[in-house]
Symmetry: C2
Subunit: 357 residues, 2 copies
């Protein structure tokens, strides 16, 4: 493990992206989105993924110079075609469209097709905050999750992010996979040689397992809830809603047809749509009540929850977004820790393209 | 246990509601909403609650002749003031506003204040289906749920319903509390003298318990996930989002201030808003792509998931809404089973008001 400054990682990522042909403005926003994951502690979605994106570009599955555009719209909705671009570029474009529509008619809702992995969901939702809007960001993803009672993997970890502005308090920012645990947590346990808790994973035969290698070995992540008795049908329904809003509305691939993120796995034949899908929403809070009124009630909401009496052994009740914001403050000062295999991977990536890590 | 025909329960409920002064059209819609819960198997939200609504009316907390109205709007949004009416009446009014806005600008979003319990979330979401729209229905509710790490009850079971139209297949209809299990399931276990699974309930000291009386005894329901290790912070975040969309956007009471449904508990002093809150959304599918295209892809989605290979010991993968729809078909024919205490309660209610059960 070694710490790197934000600026160091920014420069490397930006240089790599321009090296594969991204226009400067695209490289800039993509770098920002990617590194926001590292800052906020979602290490599996940050710079550790850079070489994965590059390999997809090498396979011709990511277009470094896409013509991202609105292909259909009404006053409050749009469909965006990502033209196989980096999701890191396509998603902010689409979220801006949602924000513009919200300025005009109160809310904006954009479904996206023909995109790729878009980094952390929270970045895009949080774009709404500075406009005094609530931001919503959903995406589907490569199938690693089995619905309740299914042996087959049919859904991605399909995250939901909702960002809600407050006044004096920091914003409420939920950003969560619709599974009990995201894949990144399995990788941490694998490295430590530890088992998972119950309800995270099933094995290739569809039986519950606590092996951290369960998904690698052909099993699946489980929807939030874990099993039927603990409400996994609800996690499954949430993941399904994310899939349908992101892909059936836009014309992207859904369910088991979502193309894999890893370049060594090919997309299925007979795809049902184009690329992967996202869904974004922006709601002006003053389309409901005066913004200052709304935001001062959010302060009150946040303070009441944060000051609730904690359960034995716990220090305090957290507000969604608290841990990530606190970590970001630390990492902006102390740097971002990268595991040795990630450092090696980035060094080799740089060497292949003549960019010093 | 005794079975009653839909028509029998319809007549009794309608007569009772007109008896307390509801206008005929209000009594009709309220009866339909209430009984849709009994038909769909959400027995805790159906006719078993009728005497609870009446007691709230007797306390002056429900207005039988409300002036339900839009108090603020933009092309895609509105705030509705329920004027302390039955949620069973206020919610369909607000959902219709959302649908009209969607006809005009693609989507409609309505936040509601000054309302009461609105029956099952799914009824209102499903109103969108006949218009080829996706329907969304959220509500906050009396605080029975402790956020992750909280000893205090700060949230309701705050359900999320999303209804999505298909073509030849029946619609996708998710309707779920954001807790591991809803309160109705605890009542079933209480009657049988059984314990709950882990992750459903904590006791009054904030420790995990499997007592089905845990909530009655001053404990709390737990957010979907159950504990931190199993993702309860996600269920907590979902319940919080429902609370904020329903009440902070509209000006209703939120969090621990939501007035209790039971008439023997008074609302807190120093309320932060008016009544309880709901949130509704309607999205025209053809605001994104042609409706027939969307709906035939939904058929394909549903068929692919329904035909997935099941896990050992399970028959098939279900689509959200399948169990409720199948039960509704049975109950429309065979009648609706009511427990003896419910029959007794309704009989006594009728006697008090001169309506024969």
């Amino acid at each position: 493990m070694q710490n790197f400054s934000y600026d160091h990682l920014y420069r490397f990522t930006y240089d790599m992206l321009t090296k594969i042909g991204c226009p400067e403005s695209d490289a800039k926003i993509a770098t920002e989105v990617l590194l926001s994951a590292d800052l906020r502690g979602v290490d599996s979605h940050g710079v550790a993924r850079l070489s994965g994106y590059v390999r997809l570009w090498e396979k011709g599955r990511i277009n470094a110079t896409p013509n991202v555009r609105v292909t259909y719209e009404t006053p409050s909705t749009a469909v965006v075609d990502g033209d196989s671009g980096l999701g890191l570029v396509v998603a902010p474009f689409a979220m801006k469209v949602a924000i513009e529509k919200a300025k005009n008619v109160g809310t904006g809702w954009v479904s996206v097709k023909n995109s790729n992995h878009y980094g952390i969901a929270g970045y895009h939702a949080m774009m709404a905050l500075e406009h005094d809007m609530i931001g919503i960001s959903l995406t589907n993803a490569s199938p690693l999750v089995s619905p309740t009672f299914s042996k087959e993997r049919l859904l991605g970890t399909n995250p939901i992010s909702v960002a809600i502005p407050a006044n004096e308090e920091p914003a409420f920012v939920a950003d969560m996979a619709t599974t009990t645990a995201a894949n990144g947590k399995l990788e941490i346990l694998q490295r430590k040689g530890l088992d998972t808790p119950t309800g995270w994973v099933q094995d290739r035969d569809g039986n519950p397992t606590t092996s951290a290698n369960g998904v690698k070995d052909g099993g699946a992540l489980l929807p939030l809830g874990g099993d039927r008795e603990h409400g996994s049908h609800k996690g499954y329904a949430l993941g399904a809603i994310v899939d349908i809003f992101s892909a059936v509305l836009s014309g992207a691939n859904y369910g088991p047809w979502v193309p894999p993120f890893v370049a060594f796995l090919d997309p299925l034949p007979n795809l049902v749509g184009e690329g992967i899908g996202h869904f974004f929403g922006a709601m002006r809070v003053d389309a409901f009540r005066p913004a200052d009124e709304f935001k001062s009630h959010m302060d009150n909401w946040i303070r009441r929850f944060r000051s609730a009496e904690p359960t034995p052994g716990n220090e305090k009740v957290l507000i969604p977004g608290d841990p990530e914001r606190e970590l970001e403050a630390i990492r902006r000062t102390d740097g971002i820790p990268l595991l040795d295999p990630v450092v090696k991977d980035l060094t080799q990536l740089g060497e292949r393209f003549g960019v010093k890590f």
